[in-house]
Symmetry: C2
Subunit: 249 residues, 2 copies
Amino acid sequence: MTEAGKGEAPATAAVLVIGDEILSGRTQDANTRYIAKYLAEIGVDLREARVVPDDENEIVAALDALRARYTYVFTTGGIGPTHDDITADAVGRAFGAEVAEHPEAMALLRQRFTEEELNPARRRMARVPKGAKLVRNVASWAPGFWIENVIVMAGVPVIMQSMMDTVGPQLRSGPPILAESIEAGAIPEGNYAMKLEEIARRHERVSIGSYPQFSKAGICNQIVLRSRDGTSLALAAQAVRDMLADLSR
Amino acid sequence: MTEAGKGEAPATAAVLVIGDEILSGRTQDANTRYIAKYLAEIGVDLREARVVPDDENEIVAALDALRARYTYVFTTGGIGPTHDDITADAVGRAFGAEVAEHPEAMALLRQRFTEEELNPARRRMARVPKGAKLVRNVASWAPGFWIENVIVMAGVPVIMQSMMDTVGPQLRSGPPILAESIEAGAIPEGNYAMKLEEIARRHERVSIGSYPQFSKAGICNQIVLRSRDGTSLALAAQAVRDMLADLSR
């Protein structure tokens, strides 16, 4: 991993999920959460996620908005051989780059398929915008690609995850974002909200959230603290635990 | 439900998920998929989803972009009593509306809590932008709210779902979006991609996607057809089934 220089701002990122199947409710997106966790571990801030349909104009508009704003944009979906797989063309258009068969991707195709099997649909999977480099992966012969700050990955989770493993070591990393979860159990949020706000104000380097969970057993609240700085995190976590102990007394 | 007038374009929608816990990977968002399915059943097109952090500027910017574009914007998260719950203030700012305690929400609070329990944190939950109406629900005393085309709901799934039940009958509905899934099984996508594209071209009123799933048993592909028109859907589905039968021969 490329370590961020001292004082350099942490790298930021957005996820762009491309696919009608997410917006129709057919498929539960799990890629965003996987990427979120992966990035937190290498200290990259995931700041936004978007889901757009298989529509070139929509993909281009979202890409342009996100790539201008964040260090990295990770897309998932739309790189297969079928007519609804239009991500490569959309990314090409966003960058004003011609989309053409990549020689290395064609070589991979030829390893995998006979000339007879190598129909135009399969050849589509070797098409990438000019200037892009391939993102190989161990889960599939079909590569993703990386152009400027946009990393284009598969929608199938096992392939996407393998592509993240390829890409991860090349990202600008930083101190991991550390997290500590503290169970507040059945103590109502309203009982600790004001004290928690005070703690949050006193520990500026720590981001603090309170998350209720409803189950048949009743409410169960969890307080989550996150920071790049272990000492700040430990101090804030102790303050939260003391506060909860006080309230339970 | 308010039936769309004849010839009126279908209502569109976006989901705006508000919460650091989604972007950190702590929590798997399940609300988007629930809302997606709910809207498809009442014929509202979900066109986009976004996830933003608990940051007022980010929430306002996303709200403004989405509410200008779609018939409805559904937000989830950020309406509890803790300091990280800032959705009401962000929505108020987006609409230039003062945020104040809603008398009806205060009455609900007073039914639920004693005057001693009614601290400023809990009273925060009764604050809504002026002009908003409350969205009651059976899962919790705490209401969401609805202002112009923005519907503000809880992040806790069981409460959000109950709020959708309150809101649903008041939305502009249309013919449900029908779907049919056809198993292509182990037939490789590349074998049917070109014929599927032809079918998609011949059936303009039907949207067709192909979705590979990878499991230990191997690849399993599914073709999903969606349309508001039952006859068009049935014809396209038959064409897909015939095509797959041909390929399996």
